[in-house]
């Protein structure tokens, strides 16, 4: 006879192990590379959005920080590599990613220390205002940022000095974005299954209790916020590098709200919600928005209302419920 609690302990001990289906997104991404060679530019955007949503999932899905200003860090990363390339001739992509992560992470750290003491509406507003401040600064600092027009026609060096970004065929860009996403994903995955990730979940679930078990809540939140900001910065940097331009759209409320929608649509606090949400949202947008922009807005509006009212855990949540029902039926 197994001792009671053994199964629960096994489940916890096995939680972080890779499951067979976790290979599917990557297989799908590689398959898309070969199947849709004309859509690789779009595919690159999807990959970037996944990474951005993943960074948001860390703070919002796991640590429970509701922010309306996450595009601040995406934009910080995007502008960092843009400015470095245009004004300082620093156009080596990989070191550019590091620079973007450092700058965005630093902004995340400083703003996290200051902002994360607030909550509720005040937190929403201070995150929003911080992003708006950055946006206005980028608008005003035209000498460096190109102001409203941004910086078009940036040039970046080949990756490892070999693989050149081709502005017409996005093969190199797609694979580059995919590789960056993979590395970042492995990192985030390790993080959420670590004791640190467990304690973030604890903060989300009950911050009062977290204080009462002696957790340095504020410090953990700032650390998570900093890491998340750095990852969002990397996503922004990849955006600039692969599209060869950057403008104010990387910093706006549109982008911040968009990534929020992507994550919630897919299912937050679930790691793969970012993948599912980004693909669903962007494919729909791509097919609908161009032909019927207003219909797209109407459609996504209705979807959001329905998700908020009936499917709070997003697409993955629906899938989990269905799977649960299926199991119940099989068992009975």
């Amino acid at each position: 006879m197994t001792p009671p609690g053994f199964a629960a302990a096994q489940a916890l001990a096995a939680r972080h192990r890779f499951k067979w289906w976790e290979v599917l997104p990557w297989v799908a991404a590689i398959a898309a590379f070969f199947l849709f060679p004309t859509y690789l530019s779009f595919g690159t955007q999807v990959l970037i959005t996944i990474l951005f949503a993943l960074s948001l999932d860390l703070v919002m899905g796991y640590a429970g920080i509701v922010t309306l200003g996450h595009a601040a860090f995406f934009g910080a990363g995007a502008y960092t590599v843009g400015i470095l390339a245009l004004h300082f001739g620093w156009n080596e992509p990989l070191s550019g990613l590091v620079a973007a992560a450092v700058v965005a992470g630093a902004i995340g750290f400083v703003s996290g220390v200051v902002l994360l003491r607030t909550q509720g509406l005040a937190l929403l507003m201070v995150t929003l205002c911080t992003m708006a401040l950055l946006e206005e600064s980028a608008n005003m600092g035209a000498a460096y940022t190109g102001g409203f027009d941004g910086m078009p026609g940036l040039e970046f060096a080949p990756i490892f000095g070999v693989f050149q970004f081709d502005p017409l065929f996005f093969r190199a860009q797609y694979l580059y974005a995919l590789a960056v996403l993979l590395v970042c994903f492995v990192l985030v995955r390790a993080l959420v299954y670590s004791p640190f990730g467990e304690s973030l979940t604890g903060i989300r679930e009950n911050v009062l209790r977290m204080h009462a078990v002696g957790a340095p809540v504020q410090r953990r939140l700032v650390v998570a916020y900093t890491i998340s900001a750095a990852l969002a910065g990397v996503a922004g940097a990849v955006f600039t590098q692969t599209t060869a331009f950057v403008n104010l759209s990387v910093l706006g409320l549109d982008r911040a709200a968009g990534v929020l929608i992507v994550l919630i649509l897919g299912g937050y606090g679930r790691l793969y919600g970012a993948f599912v949400g980004a693909v669903a949202y962007m494919v729909l947008e791509h097919t609908l928005a161009k032909a019927y922009p207003t219909a797209w807005q109407l459609g996504i509006g209705i979807v959001l209302i329905v998700v908020a009212l009936y499917a709070r855990n997003g697409i993955l949540g629906i899938a989990e419920t269905l799977r649960g029902r299926l199991r119940m039926r099989r068992a009975s």
Partner: protein, 252 residues
């Protein structure tokens, strides 16, 4: 003479003009079983919040084993051995029972900030959490989400989390509150089985439980200590009967 674990001196707390604690001085000794009783609004939970650092006193001091901890954060006091339960469950409802206790144990063992090694690989943390669940007879529910448990068992998880911190001082805020009569014995059993060396301060309205459990009773009324003594002394105290037991009897 036994060592004084926890002591307050002249503790005061005001919310604006409202005085919720006035010159409160209590002492808790190692291994103590000390009950804090008093009518609703007497300031009992406020006192617990002052002891744990959830609230800062307006005046006065909190001493833990002689060390002034008045200005320490909650985390700092937990590290020095104060743990508590809440009057209304404060659990990680979406997580399993095992995870709830894991979080507390990981925090105490100082591994909760580690980012790379998976939580599941910390067998030491898991094993300790499991052992604790076994002593509280919660092991069968280890894999269930807290939100799915009946309320009485959720109250046990409160206690399990606090014990996961291996406290020297345990503050129990109405551990049996809201538990249906049929389940209340599991709480009583758990309290009776607490390790001897822990000093326990319990807030409770159930007089049976108080008189069965406590060696020492403090009665609070309107933010002040009204009477102190052994259960026999308190039971015989006419003023206490008039102010508190009398009204409780009238209510019940």
């Amino acid at each position: 003479m036994t060592a004084v674990l926890l002591e307050t001196r002249g503790l005061c707390k005001n919310f604006g003009a409202l005085e919720v604690a006035r010159e409160v001085g209590i002492r808790l000794e190692a291994g103590a079983r000390h009950a804090l009783i008093g009518p609703n609004g007497a300031g009992k939970t406020t006192l617990v919040n002052l002891l744990t650092g959830l609230l800062r006193p307006s005046r006065g001091r909190v001493l833990l084993r002689g060390e002034d901890v008045t200005h320490l954060t909650q985390a700092g006091r937990v590290k020095r051995g104060i743990a508590r339960t809440f009057q209304i469950n404060q659990l990680f409802r979406g997580l399993t029972v095992l995870e709830n206790v894991y979080i507390a144990v990981a925090e105490r063992m100082g591994v909760a900030s580690s980012m790379i090694r998976p939580a599941g690989r910390r067998r030491d943390v898991i094993d300790q959490a499991l052992r604790l669940l076994e002593t509280l007879k919660l092991a069968d529910d280890a894999g269930r989400r807290v939100a799915e448990l009946p309320y009485g068992r959720q109250r046990l998880v409160e206690i399990a989390i606090a014990l996961g911190l291996e406290p020297r001082v345990l503050l129990l805020d109405e551990p049996a509150a809201g538990v249906p009569g049929a389940e209340s014995h599991i709480i009583l059993d758990a309290i009776a089985a607490l390790p001897d060396e822990i000093g326990v301060l319990i807030i409770e309205h159930d007089m049976d439980l108080v008189f069965r459990f406590a060696q020492q009773i403090t009665v609070m009324v309107s933010g002040e200590i009204f009477a102190e003594g052994t259960p026999t002394e308190i039971a015989a105290n006419r003023d206490v009967r008039a102010v508190y037991l009398g009204s409780a009897a009238a209510d019940g």
